[in-house]
């Protein structure tokens, strides 16, 4: 069991600051996912936890034990690499037993533990094969087997599914979640795929430019994103951002003017409840964030007119794209009869699901 605590972690490579003062605690038994675009520092952070990199500043503690200067092998952790990193000249069994061999565990004991892990992952029949004789999915299983055979307190996964095809990825995702449920060991998982993050995580940590943008449960990040970046990164299709202007500021409420908004049924202005310290002033440029499910053909008080520029069939539903709306590009999910390019629609806004983002990018709506 392991609780991982990062405090003030900074990592510089020469003049480049890859990680900028990160404070984070991953609780014992938690499945934490680090997600973010390429170059955001998520893999560097994982390597720091692993001990493959040394932080420039800050401390890393495992169960209150400072692990500064402790090599990876002394941290009771196992890591699964993106490229699987199997030893090509060793059989599957030798690969899985290598860490045990390094730890001086007897051949007999190794064989027992390797067999047990192989059985868990259903790779017993592959034990005598070499990595080059395995498919991508089998290699991935072996890499996971190599990790579990050590019975570590902490599992680290560095984009382990990114080399697999879509179908296998879904299958392996389920298996990893099942593994986590069974072992109840702390797992930290790095991915750039927000769907992986949403489906697997107890807690998602969104990173950008070496900083944490937001950390929280998948539902929290989806429904209450801290800022525009998190809102745009989490969710598929991506959240729509519509340019608007503040026209009225009242305590706890801001009214905005949205270009292309059709006159309301009751002539109601577009107003949103906001946090106390929103800092908005009249005429400020803001953005209204609307997820595709909050934009539909149902009649609603606030409506937008949009011409569909193209539609994508995604199985059971369509993604309709309206590229030339005056407030910005729109994408919505539509499950009804096909709607083709060139059609003009009236789209109702579900204001309960809308977010308001200040010019700084912070979400100010509540």
């Amino acid at each position: 069991m392991s609780r991982v605590e990062l405090s003030g972690i900074t990592k510089r490579f020469g003049a480049f600051e890859a990680i900028r003062g990160i404070d984070l605690t991953v609780e014992d038994g938690e499945f934490a996912v680090f997600v973010g675009p390429s170059g955001c520092g998520k893999s560097t952070l994982l390597r720091l936890i692993c001990g493959l990199e040394v932080p420039t500043e800050g401390a890393i503690r495992f169960d209150d034990r400072d692990v500064r200067g402790v090599p990876p092998a002394g941290r009771r952790l196992a890591m699964v690499f993106q490229s699987y990193a199997l030893y090509p000249h060793m059989s599957v069994a030798e690969n899985m037993g290598f860490a045990l061999r390094m730890a001086g565990i007897s051949r007999a004991e190794r064989a027992v533990r390797v067999a047990r892990a192989a059985e868990t992952l259903q790779i017993t029949r592959l034990l005598e094969r070499r990595p080059k004789e395995l498919s991508g999915g089998q290699r991935q299983r072996v890499a996971i087997g190599r990790a579990i055979v050590r019975e570590p307190s902490l599992f680290l996964f560095d984009e382990p599914l990114s080399n697999l095809d879509a179908e296998l990825r879904v299958e392996m995702r389920a298996e990893l979640m099942e593994l986590h449920r069974r072992l109840a060991t702390t797992m930290i998982y790095v991915t750039h795929d927000q769907i992986e993050a949403m489906t697997m995580a107890d807690r998602i940590v969104v990173l950008r430019d070496g900083r944490i943008e937001q950390a929280g449960s998948p539902t929290m990040l989806y429904e209450r994103p801290a800022n525009r970046f998190v809102a745009s990164f989490i969710g598929s299709p991506r959240m729509n951002f519509l340019a608007a202007r503040v026209t009225r500021v009242e305590p706890g409420r801001v009214t905005i003017d949205l270009p292309g908004l059709l006159p309301g049924v009751a002539g109601e202005p577009l107003a949103l409840a906001v946090a106390e310290r929103h800092g908005l002033r009249i005429d400020d440029s803001v953005e209204l964030g609307v997820r595709s499910e909050h934009l539909g053909l149902e009649p609603r008080p606030h409506r937008l007119q949009a011409r569909i520029s193209f539609s994508e069939y995604v199985g059971g539903a369509w993604h309709l794209h309206a590229g030339d709306h005056p407030a910005g590009r729109l994408v919505l999910r539509h499950a009804g009869a096909p709607i083709h390019a060139g059609e003009t629609l009236e789209l109702g806004l579900d204001m309960a699901g809308c977010h308001l983002f200040a010019p700084s990018g912070l979400r100010v709506s509540v």
């Binding site: 493959l52 990876p72 490229s83």
Partner: protein, 291 residues
Amino acid sequence: MTALLTRVRRYMDEHRFTLLDLPIWLVGMAVAFAWFAPFVWMVSTSLKYPEDVMTAQIEWLPNRITFDNYVKVFEYPVVRWAFNSLVQAGVATSLSVLFGAMAGYGLARMRFPGRDGLFALFLASLMIPTEVSIIPMLLGFIKMGWASSYQALILPSIGNVFAVYIFRQFFLGFPAEIEEAARVDGAGPFRLFFLIALPLARAPAIAAAVILFTLNWNNFLWPLLVTFDESMKTLPVGIAAFTPVVGTRTQLEGFSVAMAAVTILSVPSLALFFLLQRYFIQGISQGSIKS
């Protein structure tokens, strides 16, 4: 004629051979011939009678064949010399491949101050001619009482910059994740090198071994200087003693016997090359692509 042209055209298409490739092909063939002709001449002469060695008309292939020259070679202590050569070339090659791999790995994968400068120094040492260092080295070995010994034959050849270079190039492209996986698994630098990196460096090891074995096997000057008694001579040094009296029939006989001896001498290197040809080319090309 048309059928032949069609076949040529088809062959060229299949091999993506264009007319622009023709000059390259011709130069390549010329180089191949320049390499192969002396070899044919050597084997041919070794099979000739002494009186057929020097003829007005060049005889590329002997009109009549004799194996007497090969029999005569064995009148000398060639077995002993071959044994010495084998020990010298075998041990020196093994050690220089091992040390080359270690140094190449260190220079490619380990971070330490002055690493690139050290590599430049290694390369710069290639510019020092052997002749400059050979006499001081000889005096050193004599002073230590190691003249005419295996250690004298072997030690100067156990470090080879070429081996360092070829391994460094290989390890520069070695996947970092495999190394990191081994570190996470608990392998220290030595186990990482001996259990993971070295077994995966088969291609450069074979390339370096073939080249170094040939160099060591053919090494002449140093063994000539450092061996003072007949029993410690290596094959190339021993064969050089076949030099006959100029202008006599024995000179002609000497030629053919010497060629027979040289043919025998070249067999191990050639066999090694042909056996390991695939890995050799792989190893060399890996090095060259990375560089």
